[in-house]
Amino acid sequence: MLRLPKFEVRTPESLDAALALLAEFGPDARVIAGGTDLVPNMKHELVTPRIVVSLARIPELRGVGDAGAGWLRLGAMTSLADVAADARVRAQAPALAQAAGLVAGPQLRTMGTLGGNVLLDTRCQWYNQTYFWREALGFCLKKDGTLCHVVEGGSKCVAAASNDTAPALMTLRAELVFVGPQGRRVTPIDDLWLADGAANKKCASDELLVEVRLPPTGPGHRGAYGKLRERASIDFPLLGVATRIELDARGTITDADVVLTALQARPVRVKRAAELLLGVRAEGDAFLAAARAVADQAHRQAHPMPNIPGDAEWRRAMVPVYVRRTLEAAARGAGPVHAV
């Protein structure tokens, strides 16, 4: 078995105590939520914190609740299994419930948290490996080295955003609540990302993601998530597609959004999705034609690299297929789109 590097665990019982620990230990400290990303990364010596700050004993970080004015608040420590099963989330944000329900497998969803998935480290086949393995190649740009093995001569890390919930939250226009030494800040999830695989999130090491907030949706809201992966049981996405459609009383599209993940360092919004779908009734040939136009646009925009496993050309070819299928699923009030 791979050995876990030595570390000390702290279990603060309040948010203030947790923040104090982060302030005290700075870069030597890492936060552990469910541990499903952190622990394997520690075994691979990708991160080797001296202090691990557990959020398990801060009850206010857990659970789904009403945030007023139709908004939902999801505590960052709410397990992915609970997010996927929550009746309010399923009704108000079906794409998020579907995405959370497709992260890894049941055991990992029970441990893994929504906050942890939003803040998931980027992934790359040249990075998520043991120390021995990485050392044999002289390491890589993202960790311990200067070379990129994905893009020869590349100077910017292209490890892929691999969090299933992120694109769903982007289509839902979710807001993230961080608490840090300067207090509370609320940021739209769209503003979280950087196009840098080495560190793709604007988030300081001394602040904590405490809450995800979802705006209200109406009866015409439709959403779905599509996930391409090798095994239906457990794998990370080779491609993730979140879709949102808003319908008026007659079933005509008034707004739409499509966001892709697992292609590059940050989730990518498909351009002109709303424009291409606007005014189309969400059924029949006209809708199919519009969905195909969005799929074509997604295909033009998507340039997957051989960063994560799976043939990059095939992943690119799957983009329009999954965009179209996930739009169709949303229109039918169905989903997720998930092979095998």
Binding site: R3, P309, V340
Partner: protein, 722 residues
Amino acid sequence: MAARDQHGIGAPWGDAAAGDPANRAFQVVGKPHRKIDGLAKATGRAQYADDLVLPGMLHAKTLRSPHAHAMIVAIDASKAKALPGVHAVITGADLPIKYGVIPWTQDEHALALDKVRFIGDEVAAVAAIDEDTANAALKLIRVEYEPLHAFLDPRESLARPEPKIHEESKTGNVSKHVDLAFGDVDAALASAEVVVEGDYVFHGTTHAAIEPHCAVAQFSAEGRLTVWSSTQITHYVHRALAKVLELPIQKIRVVQPALGGAFGGKSDPFSLEFCVAKLAMFTGRPVKMLYTREEVFYCHRGRHPMKLRYRTAASKDGKIDAVDAKILIDGGSYSSFGLVTTYYSGQLLTGPYHFPTYRFDSTRVFTNKPPCGPKRGHGSVQPRFAFEVQLDELAEKLALDPIELRRRNFQGDFTRTVNGQRITSNGFLACLDEVERASGWRARRAKLGRGRGLGVAGSMYISGTNYPVYPNKMPQAGIQLAVERSGRVTVFTGSNDIGQGSNSMVAYVVAEELGMDVADIRVVAADTDLVPVDLGAYSSRVTFMVGNATIDAARKLRTQIAGAVAKEWQIDAARVRMGNGKVFDLDSTERCITTAEAFQIAEARCDTLGATGSYNTPTLGGDYRGGTIGASPAYSFTAHVVEASVDVETGRITCHKVWIAHDCGRALNPMLVAGQMEGSAYMGIAEALLEDHGVNRFGLHAGPSLLDYRIPTSVDTPELRR
């Protein structure tokens, strides 16, 4: 000494009194008994190698090569040795003697001597007070390498003899070449009414047994070495340790504890067994080494990638005239069982279909990748895949039903194949009939809509071969039985229970033969200090060979006990029957005693009770070089039908359902046979759809973890019907 291929003493149901043996009512055999170690495993009580903790035990770790192919210029372990907590560091110079499972191709060192041949090749080993200290010491060992050209493509190894991966090779980078022809293939091809031909690729796959390799060694004050190892062949590890460590073999004891799966991946002697032994000898303390999952992927010995070209000639009615094969086998960096693999790639294809003429030309080459070896269905799975596709292409070309085509080519029973293999009973047609019926083949084939369909394939495999890897005339399987007057019998067997249930199997056989309850039988297995030699769990040999040795021993014992009871009762021995824990007079069944009482009568009249038994094969195989490789005393047959669909937009294939039929002879425990059938179908689907044991452009394993090496979970496994 037992007769070859038959038992010295007949079964009681073989005599006139009991009538036709086919009507024999078994008491134990054929019933779904629990495995004798089932509860221990299910409740976490079974002791695996890594569960062993000895006083003062040290933990060892291996330093591995980061280069695919390189000379070792210098190794400096002084800093590692100086690290507090480190007890010993060894390198290739400490274990300079070569070994290898096949005596003719010994090309491995426990630790690299002059050069490394793949990324992950073993270079040095450290024993320390704990794993973390040993790992820290590894990082302090400085190795200077001089990289060499790395061969990653077997076609390059074939074309380019230099630099040699193994300097002593007389054939460049070719590991083994076998070219055998039976009959005039060219004439048959030239005159055939129809010929199909095709090129096929079978990628590499590995075993992924749940238990990683682990070994523990202890060196006693008297100079005796004990090695507990997660091996599936205790006997070959025993021999290899004696050779490499230069110890008298009788001073070495090898024990296989409970084992968490092997599938062929624990058949070779492995570096860690020699390293823990040497480190225990150096330090005087017990030493354990447990591989990480990553290391298991490097030590590999899995299925060989093959590039195969087949031509099949047939008549218009679908009867095969000739089969011609050319196969390039990627062996990875060492020989392992590769000589056998190369023969098996051709020798095991000549059933269940009749080939009037046949030729195969197989070449195994070395590459700088993890070494390949035997995996479930060793050497035969890749050619079988290619040839069954050939049969489908033939059926398509002739507009014949694929099952009907296979039926027409059935080789029959009690026959001899074109390459000289003796076929006895053969249930292949019954297997075909069953999967055809169960799958609704006739009603449903080609009627499931575009992208969804049924497919069929047949196969045959050996039950061991008549050829031990080192030539000798001694039995291939030996058994000893010890009887206790309480009514308990202990079976001593050298066979390795790797989860297939061989320890349970010997208990069932003894219970059947002596008319006992399985619970009154103990099994002592795979401990070279205690048991007679068995050649180990490989080539699907154990139930057949060890089972027959057990029958041999048990019948000798029964004859002795029945004879003693007959004398006591002053009746003819043929009237004494043993069954259901009782011994009784067949003609006067009210005369009845317990088995324990019978043991006591026999012990009083004879001596301390016990028996030995053995099995050896008859002379089998063709009269030509390599003609005995793949010659088996019995073959099993199978047919599968699969229902699968393809998503035409994504190319993704989903296997919905598999119907399986096997002719394994008599199922000693149908529940264990069902487990084997399900496991093999599962593994086949996994290899076809998910698994890929490949390296990247640097020669580094593409993903040595169970996340990146994808085997199906229960969710990904189709419904299996048998």
